[in-house]
């Protein structure tokens, strides 16, 4: 119930790779489809063929990022697609604020859920969540949130390989990973360690289980250091290129002479 478990045996969650996410929204509609048909009330849409607004448990935000250099020189702008759903926080503020006991964090795996039979739709949990992970469904009048597909990951009616959240199963680029982040030997924990996975809004003290892998450094080809210049003038050092583009045409017989010798060597 709304007291958080002191510890959970597992910390099931997602690792989201911002270096790989192309922003295709596959996870968004796979989630919408699965959770409209499964766990609890369907995710409804209002005015779906007009000025539509619906309930989604997973949404992709897109940001423009312009890295800043110490010397203030401009750098090429980047686009980052940023999927966001419930982070199944260890210290989930959405759970403790719930007056009815509908919100709870499962002791066995740390999944944060809403017991829809107990929810009165006050929305306080959504206010408490810094990430926007909870939405009130306008048709059902109750709070909806990512269940980490709790009805898939243990589902014995599904083949074992499919026992993972719908968003992970469908992600074409493989930018979403599911596993136990409490187990340092799990694939997801190793990935987080290798790629420097981070918490979102650590200062909020929620201790999110889901981790984000930051994009790798961009625009480094031919650069000895960070690039400089605006989009159309981005420039860099080229001294490192010499061994690969040393000219053969300045040889005594020119290009054809080089060609003749090169063919002879084949």
């Amino acid at each position: 119930m709304t007291a958080l478990p002191t510890t959970t045996k597992k910390k099931l969650g997602l690792v989201i790779d911002l270096d790989t996410c192309v922003g295709c929204h596959a996870c968004v509609t796979a989630c919408k489809g699965w959770n409209t048909q499964n766990y609890g009330a369907p995710l409804s849409d209002q005015d779906p063929y007009g000025k539509a607004s619906g309930t989604f448990l997973n949404r992709i935000h897109s940001f423009q990022v312009t890295p800043e250099r110490d010397d203030g020189a401009p750098v090429l702008a980047q686009t980052v697609h940023f999927p966001k759903s419930c982070l199944h926080c260890e210290d989930a503020p959405c759970v403790t604020v719930c007056p009815t006991g509908a919100s709870y964090k499962r002791a066995e795996d740390g999944i944060v859920l809403v017991n829809e039979d107990a929810c009165m739709g006050c929305g306080l949990c959504a206010w408490a969540c810094p990430y926007g992970a909870r939405e009130a469904d306008a048709a059902a009048g109750i709070m909806k949130k990512c269940t980490l597909c709790v009805d898939r990951i243990y589902n014995e009616n599904l083949p074992e390989i499919d026992r993972q959240p719908a968003c992970v199963r469908t992600c074409p680029a493989g930018a979403r990973h599911f596993g136990d982040l409490a187990d340092p030997t799990s694939d997801v924990s190793i990935l987080v360690a290798e790629r420097g996975g981070v918490d979102l809004m650590p200062e909020q003290g929620t201790k999110p289980v889901n981790q984000y892998l930051p994009p790798r450094p961009r625009d480094t080809i031919g650069m000895t250091g960070p690039a400089t210049g605006a989009a159309d003038t981005l420039s860099g050092e080229e001294d490192i290129l010499a061994p690969f583009l040393a000219s053969v045409t300045e040889e005594p017989q020119g290009f054809l002479g080089w060609l003749d010798r090169a063919l002879e060597k084949l």
Partner: protein
């Protein structure tokens, strides 16, 4: 935050109602019979009316009864308990005064304490939310309490107390605004911590074209100029004009009623601002508050 009329009415009216109950419970004034009836009718109309209006805010009121279950962890649940306890205790106290002209002071003191506790729990529902830095400060329960007490003093005709409390309220609210304007930066949540992306970050495309629950509920933005104007209006109506009226015409009933109405209108304006100016950190993901930097 979206300034939902139901929630604004609830917090303004029920605060005033519980404030009035507080003074009646303490015996300022001690009344009986019809006079008592009118006082309690006003107090209960405000407190219960406010509570009822908050029920309209619920998506699924069928389960409202379950909100009594989580008092160990949830301020909303505690509020429910406090409100019911206060109303029940004060109902007994009031019934004895109205029908039997009997005043049982310890019962009144208990009721007064519970009434104030109710206001405190209400305040804590907001103050506990780290995701809304403006609310997440000690001045939030302070102004809720000051507001309830000032309203209560005004409604109960304790003119001197009202003048003092109204001025205190003005000070606390002004402090809350001053501190609130700094709270987002103090909380340290920025687009940088929200996304953990380096450099200058701006929203390019929203996740969905239209509005959603989050943007409607939590990404409300009020123009700065507009807000300053409303703050002045709130301060004048909530505190300063009522104080002037009380000082000028301490015993004039009609003008006292006007002072009360001005005060309540001021409280409602202040509460509207309390919501409208509150920036939820989730707004960062929707391109709001991105210009803000963390406090250093």
């Amino acid at each position: 935050m979206h300034p939902a009329p139901s929630v604004i009415l609830f917090s303004s009216l029920s605060g005033a109602g519980f404030g009035l109950l507080f003074f009646l419970g303490l015996g300022f004034p001690i009344t009986t019979g019809w006079v008592a009836f009118v006082f309690y009718a006003i107090a209960y109309a405000l407190a219960v009316g406010g509570l009822l209006s908050s029920v309209f805010h619920l998506g699924n009121p069928r389960n409202a009864i379950k909100s009594y279950s989580q008092w160990r962890t949830s301020w909303l649940s505690r509020e429910a308990w406090a409100a019911v306890s206060a109303l029940l205790v004060m109902a007994l106290y009031a019934a004895l005064q109205v029908f039997f002209a009997i005043t049982v002071p310890p019962l009144g003191w208990l009721g007064a304490a519970l009434s104030l506790a109710t206001v405190f729990t209400t305040a804590m529902i907001y103050a506990q939310l780290r995701a809304i830095p403006r609310w997440n400060q000690p001045a939030t329960p302070a102004f809720f309490l000051a507001s309830a007490l000032a309203s209560g003093a005004l409604l109960s005709g304790n003119v001197v107390a009202a003048i003092v409390l109204l001025l205190a309220l003005a000070a606390v609210v002004a402090f809350h605004w001053w501190k609130g304007d700094r709270r987002f930066a103090e909380a340290g949540t920025t687009i940088g911590t929200a996304t953990r992306l380096g450099g200058r970050v701006s929203l390019w495309e929203k996740p969905h074209t239209g509005e959603n629950y989050l943007t409607r509920e939590m990404v409300y933005q009020v123009a700065r100029k507009h807000a300053v104007k409303l703050r002045v209006i709130a301060l004048l109506m909530m505190s300063l004009l009522p104080v002037l009226l009380l000082l000028a015409f301490p015993a004039h009933h009609w003008l006292a009623a006007i002072a009360v109405l001005l005060h309540l209108a001021g409280i409602i304006t202040q509460r509207w601002l309390f919501f409208a100016e509150a920036e939820h950190v989730v707004g960062l993901y929707y391109g709001a508050h991105i210009g803000r930097a963390a406090a250093h």
